[in-house]
């Protein structure tokens, strides 16, 4: 199975990269952008064929290493 993990700074934690990209979009004339957030995507290939096992494993990976939950939130999509 494959897991796609998205890691973003938490709501309320200022995302300086997103803010810089937002400014750049504004100055390029892209009107109507209300917010830009930049995160990272981590794609993990897993040996297991069991969705629940995969989800549990990836969750543990996120909590241990892939995200710093002091400042970041993450989402997991398994396929």
């Amino acid at each position: 199975m494959q897991a796609v993990v998205n890691v973003f700074l938490k709501e309320g934690v200022l995302d300086p990269q997103g803010k810089a990209a937002h400014h750049a979009l504004d100055s390029l004339g892209f009107a109507g952008v209300s917010d830009v957030r930049i995160g990272k995507q981590i794609i993990i290939k897993l040996d297991t064929d069991d969705r629940a096992t995969a989800e549990a494993e990836v969750k543990e990976m996120c909590e241990t290493l892939l995200a710093n939950t002091v400042i970041e939130d993450y989402t997991i999509e398994i396929s």
């Binding site: 700074l9 934690v13 200022l14 300086p16 990269q17 810089a20 290493l65 892939l66 710093n68 002091v70 400042i71």
Partner: protein, 223 residues
């Protein structure tokens, strides 16, 4: 005093750190990150600056799982003194030995310059040679030094006197350097035996090179 200086792949301040403590008359030992134990009879562990594991994923996030870090956690939990400088500070927050986290600087720049710092609390093993409110001049050099802690955590830091240093002007008034919560440049844990700061005291050892304020900070560990 015997000081263990850790070394990860990508660490680059280990020799400066050794030099600083040796200049003060102490012995030092470099400890490779794959070691599962620390040297015996040490008085201090320093996690020096650099770019451990190329800052991949997040600064300090991979180094914190190096074998030596288990020994460092055990040493710290046993009351041993640990100092993290710059990348070392990032590693210690990632390891959960210090509260909060270090984010990308608000202006996205790698900031490298001499910086004034105001001493906020000195009733600890690190800053006991400095006066409260005193202004020190120490170099900073980082891209991820933007200290973040949530409101509740911040209140705890304040209440327990865990805020060590703030970026300031020459009068000691806080200034915004990288976006840190209330301009925090360094903190310690609640037990006051684990210390972390973004500035580099080991780069402020000679007045002729800009400042010798770093010596006084490092001397704090002697008593």
């Amino acid at each position: 005093m015997k000081v263990a200086v850790l070394r990860f792949p990508g660490t680059n301040c280990e020799f400066d750190t050794q030099y600083a403590f040796e200049k003060l008359g102490h012995t030092t030992a470099l400890v490779w990150h794959e070691n599962e134990t620390l040297p015996t009879d040490i008085d201090l562990v320093v996690v020096p600056g650099g770019f451990s594991y190329g800052d991949y994923l997040r600064s300090g996030s991979i180094a914190r799982f190096s074998p030596v870090m288990k020994a460092v956690s055990a040493y710290a939990n046993d009351g041993g003194k640990v100092l993290g400088i710059c990348n070392g500070f990032q590693i210690l927050t990632e390891a959960g030995l210090l509260p909060g986290a270090l984010k990308r600087n608000n202006n996205l720049h790698f900031i490298s310059k001499q910086q004034n710092l105001c001493v906020i609390n000195n009733d600890n093993a690190f800053l006991n040679r400095c006066k409260k409110g005193e202004v020190l001049n120490i170099p900073i050099a980082h891209a991820d030094g933007n200290y973040y802690i949530d409101e509740e955590g911040f209140k705890e830091l304040e209440k327990n006197g865990q805020i060590l240093l703030r970026y300031s002007d020459e009068k000691g008034e806080p200034v915004v350097v990288n976006g840190s919560v209330t301009s925090i440049a360094g903190v310690c844990n609640i037990a006051k035996n684990v210390f972390g700061l973004m500035p580099h005291p080991e780069r402020a050892l000679e007045a002729i090179l800009g400042s010798e304020d770093g010596l006084r900070m490092l001397k704090g560990f002697e008593s």
